[in-house]
């Protein structure tokens, strides 16, 4: 043990007071460093957003697109449509979906006390796929929902219901967080099996649509979807931040958090409702997007630690940045083709995830 022995005296000498001020200054410096990280991530996100806007399968060159974007050059009507009606909403939706999934993953990992928890690994995405499969293959949807929204509506309903099911388990007597994670994993397999069953009976056309949907694509982005996602984030992020200290305390153990006066069951319930809204809406709008909800929070944790006042906004930014980069990458890998962004997020996420596993083992 390297620390000095505890002092039974309560008096504080000048020297000790000076030392205390020095440690508090050190803490302040750490806070400033975290703020700088947030600013740098925001700048990187802006750069990635522009990169996403100027890349695409059309024959418009990057310099021309850049000039047109910043009003320095003339754009033809088709070029204006490509940039402002196709690329802008898709690029913003990429950022919003990345932010929403990463925030959902960060909260999930904290309230379920599991670093592997994410909307993807605990069955939310699989549930959404089942909802979409029922709509695409069997035409089953929520009554009254317009035809254009039937797939998204079903996906949202199933994703939301899966988190509520997880929630129900959380409130069940005697169910610990380990049980929840196991139930989540069981749900992944169950929903995947049901999707396979629906695929088995699907026609060739419906099967093709379903496979494309499960790959995740920003091609489904629209201004309406963008507005809904933005509205959700504007409402839910401040609510998450309001609970930041409680979530930080929960990382120190459930008993400890409860002995601080936190109603852990309520905190978990409210947090999982936020998760269900964020993940359900995101997956419903753009399909299955893997690894953002898992990896975004891990990168944030490495950057700023788990003081949730910084961890949550950093997770939002890392998720948004990853998704935006994946969107740009999906348009430049193959000439004239936009690859489904869900494939790109997995391709970026998997190597990073393996890196994390090995580095954490080394630390152990």
């Amino acid at each position: 043990m390297t620390s000095r022995v505890p002092s039974a005296g309560s008096g504080q000498s000048e020297e000790a007071a000076g030392e205390a001020r020095a440690w508090i200054s050190g803490y302040d410096a750490r806070i400033r460093r975290r703020l700088v990280i947030l600013v740098l991530l925001s700048l990187a996100l802006c750069a990635s957003f522009v990169l996403d806007l100027i890349t695409g399968p059309s024959s418009m060159g990057v310099p021309h697109a850049l000039k047109g974007l910043f009003g320095l050059g003339e754009l033809s009507l088709p070029q204006r449509i490509i940039i402002f009606d196709v690329r802008v909403p898709a690029a913003i939706v990429a950022i919003l979906v990345g932010a929403a999934l990463s925030l959902a993953g960060a909260e999930m990992q904290t309230v379920l006390n599991n670093p592997l928890a994410s909307p993807f690994t605990l069955g939310v995405s699989s549930a959404a796929s089942l909802g979409a499969a029922l709509a695409l293959v069997l035409g089953i949807g929520i009554p009254g929902v317009p035809p254009d929204w039937i797939v998204s509506g079903n996906a949202f309903l199933f994703a939301f219901a899966s988190v509520l099911l997880l929630q129900g388990m959380a409130r069940a007597r005697g169910a610990g967080v380990e049980t929840l994670v196991l139930v989540g994993i069981a749900m992944v397999f169950t929903f995947n099996a049901l999707v396979a069953l629906v695929q088995f009976v699907a026609s060739q056309d419906a099967l093709q649509q379903l496979v494309f949907w499960t790959m995740g694509s920003l091609g489904r982005a629209s201004w309406n979807k963008l507005a809904i996602l933005a509205f959700l984030l504007i409402i839910l992020l401040p609510l998450s931040l309001k609970d930041a200290w409680k979530l930080t305390a929960l990382r120190l153990g459930e008993d400890r958090a409860r002995s601080f006066g936190i109603n852990v069951a309520r905190l978990r319930f409210v947090s999982l409702v936020r998760v269900s809204l964020l993940a359900g809406t995101s997956v419903a709008f753009v399909g299955t997007i893997g690894f953002i909800g898992l990896v975004g929070p891990h990168i944030a944790r490495l950057m700023v630690g788990e003081d949730h006042r910084f961890f949550l906004p950093t997770s939002v930014l890392t998720g948004a940045l990853l998704m935006s980069l994946a969107s740009a990458l999906s348009k430049v890998l193959a000439t004239g083709v936009v690859l489904p962004v869900g494939i790109m997020t997995a391709l970026i996420g998997v190597p990073f995830f393996i890196f994390l596993i090995f580095t954490s083992r080394e630390r152990t």
Partner: protein, 260 residues
């Protein structure tokens, strides 16, 4: 400062349908000194602390200076009773200072300013002699240092009832006595009820005015160390043949000769 008084009447507690403690009633526990809970593993010591802290469902009466603790909300009860679990979890990316700060800021009733909370947190670390660890990550700490950080979280909340679950189990000899001295001092200064689970009988006899010996969810001996820690009690509870003698300084010493 007037001392707190904790009364436990007909307390029943357990996990699910499994009752660990049945109708436990003990004479009121006075503040201003430390009360030790001794007993073998699975005797119900931690269960009692968790029930007192409101972390387990319980029935029976629990009064603090005439106030019914069971009628309070989670936050209100936590503002009066603080429980320190046996260990801090692993793999938490927080510094010691942040962990202690969270103990103050996370409470729904926390009315302290951010500046005030920071000063209080630093004072608690200084008092435990771990101010130099303030910016260290919890994961970098040894087992003993983690226990000290955990104790800082408990005392910084200034409760009226302090419940400590084996706070010295990972500490070296020097730190064990320093921590016990600190807990005794805090209890005396603030007039609070301090209940501490210990496995070291000598430590309990040295620092605690009252000792409650637990076995199978019931108190089998209760009183001053002289009264509660006897060869007969040790044989019945731990199954050992032991001698209890006073040393030249007047402290009780327990020598175990072997199984009873």
């Amino acid at each position: 400062m007037s001392s707190s008084l904790l009364t436990i009447r007909d307390l029943c507690a357990g996990y699910g349908r499994r009752r660990i403690i049945e109708t436990l009633s003990v004479p009121a526990i006075e503040g201003g000194s430390v009360t030790a809970l001794l007993g073998p593993n699975a005797a119900g010591k931690t269960t009692l602390l968790r029930a007192l802290a409101g972390l387990l469902p319980m029935t029976g009466g629990l009064d603090l200076c005439g106030e019914d603790l069971t009628a309070l909300s989670v936050a209100e009860r936590a503002s009066r009773v603080t429980y320190m679990p046996q260990s801090l979890p692993q793999r938490v990316a927080l510094t010691v200072f942040e962990a202690v700060l969270a103990a103050l800021r996370a409470s729904p009733l926390a009315g302290m300013s951010p500046e005030g909370a920071r000063n209080e947190a630093m004072r608690a670390l200084e008092r435990l002699g771990i101010a130099d660890l303030a910016l260290s990550s919890l994961d970098e700490l040894s087992g003993g240092q983690r226990q000290l950080a955990s104790l800082a979280q408990a005392i910084v909340r200034s409760p009226r009832v302090l419940l400590l679950d084996e706070p010295t189990s990972a500490l070296d000899l020097n730190h064990q006595h320093k921590v016990m001295a600190l807990v005794e001092e805090v209890a005396r200064e603030r007039g609070i009820v301090a209940i501490i689970v210990l496995h070291d009988i000598a430590l309990a006899c040295r620092w605690c005015k009252r000792v409650m010996v637990f076995s199978k969810g019931a108190v089998v001996a209760d009183g001053t160390p002289e009264k509660a820690v006897t060869p007969e009690v040790l044989a019945a509870v731990y199954g050992v043949s032991a001698r209890v003698e006073r040393c030249s300084r007047g402290f009780l010493q327990v020598s175990v000769d072997g199984p009873a």
